[in-house]
């Protein structure tokens, strides 16, 4: 019972974490609503530049405003977010093995390699979707690890 209670807290905590992180990606859009946010733009932009190259041609534009991370990273983070939302509503454990994680990361890896070797031109849609698949599966893989970690160390105390 206590564990189930903690599980729901963990699910909501992770959801809030990914919502918070994803909101940051739309920072440019939020400047429209709250103009004073513009003063923090360089700082927030630097934060996301640590985790993404932010090449102009690889950014998704919403209403003409670029997101703060590239299409592939956006896909990964939205995949994580979607899974975090789904995770709140499901009770059963979604078991993701290493093989499944590898399988879902293959489109992303292949796309990166093919772009790197210039076999085809960079496509924002392909990059986003391949990231989305990887992010969605990565969430459940990571969630199971966190759960195992907490079960082992917190319930023992």
């Amino acid at each position: 019972m206590i564990l189930a209670f903690r599980k729901s807290y963990l699910k909501i905590f992770l959801l809030l974490l990914f919502v918070f992180w994803s909101i940051g990606i739309f920072y440019n859009t939020f400047i429209y609503l709250f103009p004073n946010l513009i003063f923090f733009h360089p700082f927030i932009n630097k934060c996301y530049s640590l985790v993404c190259h932010q090449h102009n041609e690889k950014l998704i534009n919403i209403f003409g405003l670029p997101l703060l991370v590239c299409a592939r990273c956006s896909g990964i983070y939205f995949g994580l977010l979607i899974s975090a939302v789904v995770n709140v509503f499901i009770r059963n454990k979604v078991l993701i093995t290493n093989k499944i994680l590898l399988l879902f990361s293959l489109p992303l890896i292949i796309d990166v390699i093919r772009n790197y070797l210039k076999i085809y031109d960079y496509s924002i849609i392909v990059a986003f979707i391949s990231g989305l698949f990887f992010g969605a599966v990565l969430f459940f893989y990571f969630y199971n690890i966190i759960l195992e970690f907490l079960q082992k160390y917190l319930t023992e105390k």
Partner: protein, 169 residues
Amino acid sequence: MKKYLPSFVCGFGAGVLQVVPVAKTFTCCLIVPAAAFLAIYLEKKASNDEAVIDLKKGAIIGLITGLFAAVFGSFFDLFITFITKNNDMVSAFTDFQNMILNFPLDENLKTEILDLMANVVDEIKTTGFSALYAFSVIINNIVINPIFGIVGGLIGVKVLESKNSNLRM
């Protein structure tokens, strides 16, 4: 110190790669998690292949790797900026100006933010150092890298230990 050697080596590597544009383009957000993963692999190799690394230790190794990456990443970023008097903020300033000018914001607000950024860019171009830029780099590195390090550490333990448990079976 020997205890932290894998984290130190991998954190150093991640710190260097974070300021290399080509590496960053290729690996994106995976630099620090990959460094933490490698640190755990090296830790296993250094101790004993049979030794089991638990999640707690993996998280700690990931955290320390992230911290080393933050320290070295900040140092190299600021050092290269100091030497070259140029960085990604300076090169992207024209794009930033265009973006701000296209925002439907109050003209005073636009002027204020552009003046602020122009000061930072000027400081970097003349002295190679800006306190505001340094603050931004250090804080962001110290917050973001350890988090990504912990994620990489936990995933690293899971992947490497499941491989071991498969072998044991």
